[in-house]
C-alpha cells in the first residue's frame, strides 16, 4: 500500500475546507439524490460525497457503505485530490498502490474505484465524488462523463450555499446598521406610501405596522404639501438634498425632523425617495427657549460684526435702548462726549481679542436723557463677531447717587444718627453715623452687632432705650426725650421705620449740653438780676421809710426832743440813701466795664497816708489801734483815688466788724511785679464759708450793725471790681485772732484803659 503524499497547497486547501458553509438538510438531500443517481447510472453498488479535512475523510452522503469517517492518509481519495482530473482504478488488485489495502484484501473488498476531486469556491480540492464496486470495471468514457457531471452538481451545491451565506451576512450587516441607527431612515414611494422604515423611525413614531399607513399619513398635515413637492421634484430629477418637516407620531405627537433626501432610480426611472432624518424637536425647543430669552431679556443683547461693528442681531431691549446709536449716521453722536474715547479704545481692544467688562457708557435717549449702560462684550474671532450684553443701570445710578448723597449727609451732620433693629427685645445695630460713633467713642462698623456686645452702655441704659423705642412703636409717633448720658445732654427723637421688614427704628440726637448750660447761665443771671433789683429796692425803701416817716411825724404832737431826733433820723438816712445810690451806680458802672481809671504814678506811702487820714477818726472813736507798716516808698502806676477808696473800705470794715479786735495793721510791700496791700485785724475771725461770700453784693455779716454804721453792702464788691480793673486780685484769709484782707495790683498798667474818670473819686 502506498500512501498518498500531502499536496504542497494542503494548508490553503484545509483553510478552504474549514470555511465551508455547513450543509443544510436541503444540501444533504441534494447530495443523496446525486449519489443515488451515480449508483444507478454507473451501475455500481457504492457511491459517496466525501470531504477531506486535515486528517480525516467524512461522508456527508454515502450509499453502499456505512462509513461515517475514515482516516485520511489510508483512503483512496487522498490520491484523488492530488490531481485535477478524475482518478480511475479499474482493478485494485492490479494497482501497486492499493492491491494490499485492507479494504481490498478484506471487506468491503473494493476492486473498482472512480473518484472526481471536488473543487471549492476558490478552486482548492476539498473532497471527492466517488463510485466504487467490489467487481473490477472497465470504465467507459460515457460513464466517466456522467460521474464528472454529477460531481459538478455537488460542487455547485457547495458554492451556492457559500454565496447564499455571504449574501445573508451582507444583508444582516446592512439591516443591523439601519435598524440601530440613531437617525430616522425611510424610503417613500412616489405615491407617498412607505416602503421601508428603520427601527428608530418605528419606535419614534410608534406605528406597529407602517405598511398600513395611507399616503403621507405620517407627515403633519401642513407639511404634506411640501413633502409631496419634494417627492415630485426628486422624481423630476431636481437636485434637492435636504428637507425639514414634521412627522406625526401615534397620538398626534409632533416630531420636528431635518435630514437629507435622495432619489432611488432603477433603469433611469424614479422608484423611491430615500430619507435619513434626525429628530430635532428638543434641539429646536432649546433654540426657541434661548431665542425667547435673548429677545425678551430686559438687558441689552446683540451680536455685532467684528469688522465694522454693524449689527447682526439685536434683541428688543437693544433695539429700544441702543436705538439712538443704531439708527444714527454716526453711532458715536449719541454717546456722551466723555465716553467716546473710552468706547473707541474698547472697540480696538475687542478687535485684538480683549474682552470688555463693566464699561459704563452714557447714551442719550430719544427724550434727551442720559441713560447709563453697563457693558460686557467679547469677540469671537472665528465668527468675526462680537457678543455684547448691556445692563441699563440708569435707575440704579440714580438710586446710588441718592444713597451716596444720603450717606454723605448721614456721616457729616453733627447730629447723632443711628438705625437699629429690635430683635427679641434687644437692640441690634444696623448702622450709625460718624458723629454717633465719635460720641460713643467707638471706632469701626457697629452694623449687625448686638448693642449689649458693643458695650459702653449699661444694662439700665439699654433697657431705657428699648422702652423708648417701644413707646414710639406703641404710639406710632416719634418720641422726643432729653437725656443725660456719657456726661452730656442729648435731645433724642426715635421713630419707627414702618416700611422695614424688621422692628426697625432710627434715632436722631442732638448734643444740647452747651445750650442747656447757656440756658442755666442765663437763668442764673436773670435770678441774680432780679435778686439785685429786689435787694436794691429794699435797701432804698428802708431809708425812704425812715425819712418819709420822720418828716411826716414832725407835724404831729411831739416833744422838742423827739423833733430833734426825727430830724437827725431824716438827715442820717438821706446821707445813707445818697451813699447807696452812689455805690449802686458805681458798682453798675464797674460791673458793666464802663468806669475808666485815671492812671498816674503813685506811691504806696501816698495811698496809705491818704486812707489812714480818712479812717483815723473812726479808729479813735472805736478805740482801736491803727498801725502802718510800709517797706519804703514803692512807686507804681494806678488810679490813686480808687486805691484809696479800696483801702479805706478794708480798714473801715476791720475797724467796724472785727469782733473783739484791738488793733488793725496796714501793710504795703513789693511782691514781684505787683504791689501788695494788706489789712489785718486781731478779731474773732470769719468762718471759712463766709469768706468767699463776702465779696458778693449786699452780703453782710452782722447786718443790723452794718446799717447802723452806714454800710451799703456793696463796699467789698466794689473794691474787688476796682482792683480787678487794675489787673489785680483781692482775697481774704482768716483764723481766730488774725483776719487779713489783701489786694495786689501790677506795678505798671500797660494797655490798661486810661483817661478821664467818669465819676469823681470818693473817699
Amino acid at each position: 500500500m502506498i500512501f498518498a503524499p500531502r499536496p504542497a497547497n494542503d494548508a490553503q486547501r484545509i483553510l478552504e475546507v474549514e470555511h465551508l458553509e455547513p450543509a443544510t438538510p436541503e444540501d444533504l438531500a441534494a447530495y443523496d439524490t446525486l449519489v443515488k443517481m451515480a449508483t444507478e447510472l454507473l451501475d455500481v453498488p457504492i457511491a459517496f460525497v466525501s470531504i477531506i479535512t486535515r486528517d480525516e475523510q467524512t461522508f456527508p452522503s454515502i450509499k453502499g457503505l456505512d462509513f461515517v469517517a475514515y482516516p485520511r492518509d489510508t483512503g483512496f481519495c487522498a490520491h484523488t485530490i492530488l490531481q485535477d482530473r478524475p482518478m480511475i482504478v479499474d482493478d485494485t488488485q492490479r494497482d501497486m498502490r492499493f492491491f494490499d489495502h485492507p479494504a481490498v484484501t478484506g471487506p468491503p473488498n473494493i476492486r473498482f474505484y472512480a473518484g472526481v476531486p471536488l473543487l471549492g469556491p476558490t478552486g482548492q480540492p476539498i473532497g471527492t465524488f466517488c463510485a466504487l464496486d467490489s467487481q473490477p470495471h472497465t470504465f467507459e468514457p460515457r460513464k466517466l462523463a456522467i460521474l464528472e457531471l454529477l460531481a459538478q452538481q455537488v460542487a455547485a451545491v457547495i458554492s451556492t450555499r457559500r454565496l447564499l451565506a455571504e449574501a445573508e451576512r451582507a444583508r444582516f450587516e446592512l439591516n443591523d446598521l439601519l435598524e440601530n441607527a440613531e437617525d430616522l431612515v425611510l424610503s417613500v414611494a412616489g405615491d407617498g406610501r412607505l416602503l421601508y422604515v428603520n427601527r428608530r423611525w418605528r419606535e419614534s413614531l410608534g406605528y406597529t405596522d407602517f405598511t398600513q399607513l395611507a399616503s403621507l399619513e405620517f407627515v403633519a398635515l401642513e407639511h404634506r404639501g411640501t413633502f409631496a413637492t419634494a417627492l415630485d421634484r426628486l422624481a423630476a430629477g431636481e437636485p434637492i438634498t435636504t428637507l425639514e418637516t414634521v412627522f406625526i407620531a401615534k397620538g398626534n405627537r409632533r416630531i420636528l425632523v431635518e435630514g437629507s433626501i435622495s432619489a432611488r432610480r432603477q433603469h433611469g426611472q424614479f422608484v423611491a425617495m430615500r430619507g435619513i432624518f434626525r429628530d430635532v424637536t428638543a434641539r429646536r425647543a432649546a433654540e426657541m427657549t434661548r431665542l425667547a430669552f435673548f429677545e425678551h431679556s430686559p438687558d441689552v443683547a446683540c451680536i455685532l460684526n467684528l469688522e465694522d461693528f454693524s449689527v447682526r442681531t439685536v434683541n428688543a431691549a437693544g433695539r429700544r435702548i441702543l436705538a439712538p446709536m443704531l439708527n444714527a449716521q454716526d453711532p458715536f453722536a449719541a454717546v456722551h462726549p466723555d465716553d467716546v474715547a473710552t468706547i473707541r479704545t474698547a472697540a480696538t481692544g475687542l478687535r485684538e481679542g480683549k474682552p470688555l467688562s463693566r464699561l459704563q457708557l452714557r447714551l442719550r435717549d430719544d427724550v434727551e436723557v442720559w441713560r447709563t449702560l453697563l457693558l460686557h462684550a467679547i469677540a469671537d474671532m472665528d465668527n468675526a463677531c462680537v457678543y455684547v450684553s448691556g445692563l441699563d443701570i440708569t435707575d440704579r445710578r440714580k438710586v446710588e447717587e441718592m444713597a451716596e448723597t444720603l450717606a454723605t449727609f448721614f456721616d457729616n451732620v453733627p447730629a447723632l444718627i443711628g438705625i437699629i433693629d429690635l430683635i427679641d427685645g434687644e437692640i441690634h445695630y444696623v448702622s450709625r453715623n460718624a458723629a454717633a460713633n465719635a460720641f460713643f467713642q467707638y471706632t469701626g462698623d457697629v452694623g449687625g452687632l448686638r448693642a449689649a456686645d458693643v458695650g459702653n452702655q449699661s444694662d439700665d441704659q439699654l433697657a431705657f432705650w428699648v422702652k423708648t423705642y417701644e413707646e414710639a412703636e406703641r404710639t406710632e409717633q416719634p418720641v422726643t426725650i432729653e437725656v443725660r448720658t456719657h456726661g452730656r445732654w442729648l435731645r433724642v427723637t426715635v421713630s419707627r421705620v414702618r416700611t422695614a421688614a424688621t422692628r426697625r427704628f432710627c434715632y436722631i440726637a442732638e448734643d444740647i449740653t452747651e445750650r442747656k448750660r447757656a440756658d442755666a447761665e442765663r437763668m442764673e443771671a436773670d435770678r441774680v438780676k432780679t435778686e439785685f433789683i429786689g435787694t436794691v429796692s429794699h435797701e432804698i425803701r428802708t431809708p425812704l421809710t425812715a425819712i418819709h416817716a420822720s418828716l411826716r411825724l414832725l407835724t404831729a404832737n411831739i416833744s422838742e426832743e423827739e423833733r430833734r431826733e426825727l430830724l437827725g433820723i431824716a438827715q442820717s438816712h438821706t446821707a445813707r440813701l445818697s451813699r447807696l445810690v452812689n455805690d449802686v451806680l458805681d458798682f453798675q458802672r464797674l460791673d458793666a466795664g464802663q468806669a475808666l481809671l485815671h492812671l498816674k504814678p503813685v506811691t504806696t506811702q501816698g495811698v496809705i497816708s491818704r486812707a489812714v487820714d480818712l479812717v483815723m477818726p473812726l479808729a479813735n472813736e472805736a478805740g482801736i489801734e491803727l498801725l502802718v507798716h510800709s517797706s519804703g516808698k514803692l512807686a507804681f502806676v494806678a488810679d490813686e483815688d480808687r486805691l484809696v477808696q479800696v483801702l479805706v473800705n478794708l480798714i473801715s470794715n476791720a475797724l467796724k466788724y472785727a469782733v473783739g479786735g484791738t488793733r488793725v495793721d496796714v501793710t504795703a510791700e513789693s511782691a514781684g511785679n505787683t504791689v501788695r496791700f494788706a489789712v489785718t485785724d486781731n478779731g474773732a475771725g470769719i468762718a471759712e464759708s463766709d469768706l468767699a461770700r463776702l465779696f458778693q453784693r449786699f452780703v453782710r455779716l452782722g447786718e443790723s450793725e452794718t446799717r447802723r454804721s452806714g454800710g451799703t453792702g456793696l463796699g467789698l464788691a466794689i473794691s474787688k471790681a476796682l482792683v480787678e480793673q487794675h489787673g489785680g486780685t483781692m482775697g481774704a484769709t482768716s483764723v481766730p485772732g488774725k483776719t487779713t484782707f489783701w489786694f495786689e495790683v501790677p506795678t505798671s498798667q500797660n494797655g490798661a484803659p486810661t483817661g478821664p474818670v467818669g465819676e469823681p473819686p470818693r473817699p
Partner: protein
C-alpha cells in the same frame, strides 16, 4: 388802750414806728430789735398786735411768725408783716403764711394807727 409790739432790726424805723403808734394813735408800744426778743416779749406781755419786719438778720420775720403761731401762748395774737419788698406776689405769699395784714414800707406814719387798729385783738 391796745398794746402793739414792734419787731424791727432798724433802730430808726423802730423809733418812727413807735412815734406813729404812740403819739399819733395812742397805742401802748413795745419794741424788739430781733426775733428772739420779740417772741419772748410777746409771750410775757401778750400784746394785742405784733408788727413784724420780714427782712431781719439772723431769724427772719417769716420764721418768727411760725414760732408765734406754733406757741399756744402767742398763737392767738394777730400779726401784721411790715416789708420793704412789698410787691403783689410777695404780699399774697406772706398773707398765706398766717399774717393778718402786710404793710408796705414806706408807710404813712399819720395813717398807720388807723390802719392797724382793726387788726388788734379785742378784749371784750
Amino acid at each position: 388802750m391796745p398794746t402793739v409790739l414792734v419787731v424791727d432790726d432798724e433802730a430808726d424805723l423802730r423809733t418812727v414806728t413807735e412815734l406813729a403808734l404812740r403819739v399819733v394813735g395812742g397805742f401802748r408800744v413795745l419794741l424788739a430789735s430781733d426775733g428772739a426778743t420779740g417772741v419772748e416779749l410777746a409771750r410775757s406781755a401778750q400784746p394785742d398786735l405784733i408788727l413784724l419786719d420780714v427782712m431781719m438778720p439772723g431769724e427772719s420775720g417769716v420764721s418768727v411768725l411760725a414760732r408765734l403761731l406754733a406757741d399756744p401762748l402767742t398763737s392767738g395774737i394777730p400779726v401784721a408783716f411790715m416789708t420793704a419788698r412789698a410787691h403783689g406776689e410777695e404780699m399774697v405769699r406772706l398773707r398765706a403764711l398766717g399774717a393778718r395784714d402786710v404793710i408796705a414800707k414806706p408807710f404813712d406814719p399819720m395813717e398807720l394807727a388807723d390802719r392797724v387798729r382793726p387788726l388788734c385783738r379785742s378784749h371784750a
